[in-house]
């Protein structure tokens, strides 16, 4: 019986502590909200199309800007393709080849000697 009472006491104590901690968190949140209130939201402006308000010149300018931006993005994504090929084989290839050849020669020598 003693063990049962002891178990129940510990369970109740644990539950009590958990809820007490949660209560403290809620209290802290409420306090923080009061201390740092949210800035009032700016009144939403109605969405209007820039193009619909723009004059013909503005439309042309916008089109040119869009085309330029598109071209620029193409240039960015296109830059560099094939440059590594134009540069020729790199050190990795040369070193690996040299190592492979010397290892081969070493093996051949060992074979000859044996």
């Amino acid at each position: 019986m003693n063990l049962l009472w002891q178990g129940l006491t510990i369970s109740l104590l644990g539950l009590g502590l958990t809820f007490a901690a949660l209560g403290l968190f809620i209290l802290a949140m409420v306090l923080l909200k009061r201390l740092f209130p949210e800035a009032p939201k700016a009144e939403e402006q109605p969405v209007t199309s820039a193009l619909s308000q723009a004059s013909d010149e503005d439309e042309i300018a916008a089109a040119i800007a869009a085309a330029l931006s598109h071209l620029q993005s193409l240039e960015i994504c296109r830059s560099g393709l094939g440059e590594a090929l134009e540069a020729g084989r790199g050190r990795w290839w040369l070193v690996s080849r040299a190592t492979a050849y010397s290892a081969k020669a070493h093996r051949a020598n060992e074979r000859d000697n044996s």
């Binding site: 393709l81 094939g82 090929l85 020729g88 290839w93 492979a100 050849y101």
Partner: protein, 535 residues
């Protein structure tokens, strides 16, 4: 004359030298003149009458102007049987030396038909052996211009031994320096094995013939009657036997082709292949590629058109153009870099892989790997050719060569599946797990164990037989379901068997980018004496 008193192009005349030396120089010049005359004006006339050039004329056409340096021009044979003591020519029946093609060093030998029919003598063997040794030491390609009646009978075993020396050297040089044989006349008997051992054989229509035994011997032994051209002409070896990799219309075209071919080859196995300044936009995306593969899987299309649109414009040099046309192999450029292209041709036998196509592809793959040429494979094959003749002919052994060649290749390997990649054809044609670095597929790719109809017959054959009344409708439904599952590449991509699915037009930039990544690729192989390819 230059400041040093030495003319840049023409040696000074004897009169300009000291008196004591004049006669020596004159004698040397006389000797040179005699050597240049080969077998004499009458024989040169006969050679020209046949529409053929002499050995020296061929060399001057092939090599950069003024670059040829002759060696062993004074050597003569030592035999006297059968009146050979009366038939001694300085330099004997071959001209050997070195020069340049497109500024690149090459070693050369040209058989001189005007001297004893260009017959292969002990001395010719020694001269050719020396020039191959030089090429091997210098790490430069060796090119042979062949025009010979064959072994010099009067020299007996000495001539045969000289052949052995040549074949041994051809084998030693294989995979170390490129070897090209240009056939400009007859080549009969055992001598055919030298070109047979080299990397590329170029034959000339009408004037070049290759065979082990001639029409007369064949008639005697097997009673078959065959003419020279049908037996061993350029088109026979170019289209039927596959001995010849290229067929040229005439000698000049053959020599021009040799120059062109050399432009794709490195000088030796330690060097990368020669790159050129890129002339084509790496980002060129041909919209025609998006619609080039018909939606109907039974409809054919021209794979060569795909190749032309993907690789640098005008750069594709097809090898074995007339042989096993269901497969395509050749050298091309991607952003100026040399690549080996292997593909199927759906226009011929639906791109099926047969014995000849296997041999053609496997040999080409091994050549590219030996000389550091990256491989780009374009796959559209319904599988291996069925049939008793193929099975009895050893399609298993021959087909295994392809998978062996791809598996042992350590150069960058890229693959693009344009449509069918069924069964064995999928596996052997540069699939992911035989270590292809990057495998791409077009949205039209179908990767499956077999075609939809065949698969449904096997999987649902019994069920379809049990309900014959609505068998056709059910079959159509099942075929459609199968196609829906396997006629798109996304299932293969989802499991990593395909690295990416491409819009066909973007194949070119994607291949260039992949090639760029793999520029310095190094793959190791376990040490061994050599592998055992199923020959």
């Amino acid at each position: 004359m230059t400041e040093a008193g030495v003319s840049r192009r023409v040696p000074p005349q004897p009169s300009e030298q000291g008196d004591g030396h004049a006669s020596l120089i004159t004698e040397l010049q006389e000797q040179r003149k005699r050597i240049r005359a080969g077998g004499g004006p009458a024989r040169i006339e006969v050679q020209h009458a046949k529409g053929k050039l002499t050995a020296r004329e061929r060399l001057s056409r092939l090599l950069d102007e003024g670059s040829f340096q002759e060696i062993d021009a004074y050597i003569t044979h030592r035999h006297s049987d059968f009146g050979m003591d009366q038939e001694r020519y300085a330099g004997d029946s071959v001209v050997t030396g070195f020069g340049k093609i497109g500024g690149r060093r090459v070693c050369m030998y040209a058989q001189d038909f005007t001297v004893l029919g260009g017959s292969f003598s002990e001395v010719q063997g020694q001269k050719v052996a020396k020039v191959i040794d030089l090429a091997l030491d210098a790490g430069v390609p060796v090119i042979g211009l062949n025009d010979s009646v064959g072994a010099r009978i009067q020299e007996g075993v000495y001539s045969l031994a000289a052949y052995s020396e040549l074949f041994w050297r051809n084998t030693q040089a294989s995979g170390v320096i490129p070897q090209i044989s240009v056939m400009l006349g007859p080549c009969a008997g055992g001598s055919v094995y030298s070109p047979g051992l080299t990397d590329f054989v170029i034959m000339t229509k009408g004037s070049s013939h290759m065979f082990i035994t001639g029409p007369e011997v064949i008639k005697t032994v097997t009673r078959e009657e065959v003419d020279l051209e049908t037996l061993g002409g350029a088109m026979t070896h170019g289209a039927v036997s596959g001995v010849s990799h290229f067929v040229a219309d005439d000698e000049v075209a053959a020599l021009e082709l040799t120059r062109k071919l050399l432009g794709y080859l490195p000088s030796n196995s330690a060097e990368p292949p020669p790159a050129v300044e890129p002339t084509d936009d790496p980002w060129r995306m041909d919209a025609d590629l998006n619609t080039i593969v018909p939606v109907d899987p039974g409809e054919a299309y021209d794979m060569k058109a795909v190749i032309q649109k993907v690789f640098d414009l005008g750069s594709f040099l097809e090898v074995h153009e007339h042989f096993a046309q269901n497969a395509i192999v050749g050298l091309a450029r991607l952003h100026g870099q040399v690549v080996g292209v292997i593909a199927q041709q759906p226009l011929t036998l639906a791109g099926v892989i047969d014995i000849d196509a296997s041999d053609k592809m496997a040999r080409f793959i091994r050549f590219c790997d030996a000389f550091n040429i990256p491989l780009v494979t374009i796959v559209d094959s319904p599988g291996f050719m069925p049939g008793v003749a193929q099975e009895h002919g050893g399609i298993i052994r021959h087909g295994a060569k392809i998978v062996y060649a791809y598996s042992e290749a350590t150069v960058p390997k890229l693959a693009v599946i344009t449509r069918k990649a069924y069964g064995g054809a999928y596996i052997v044609m540069s699939s992911k797990y035989i270590r292809t670095d990057l495998v791409y597929a077009w949205p039209t790719a179908e990767i499956a164990v077999m075609g939809a109809e065949g698969a449904i017959n096997i999987l649902y054959g019994k069920e379809l037989k049990q309900h014959p009344d609505n068998a056709e409708a059910r079959r159509a439904q099942l075929v459609n379901e199968f196609r829906e599952k396997f006629s798109k590449p996304y299932r293969a991509a989802a499991s990593g068997h395909v690295d990416d699915v491409l819009i066909p037009a973007e194949t070119r930039p994607r291949l260039i980018a992949a090639l760029e990544l793999l520029r310095d690729k190094q793959a190791t192989r376990p040490p061994r004496k050599h592998g055992n390819i199923p020959l």
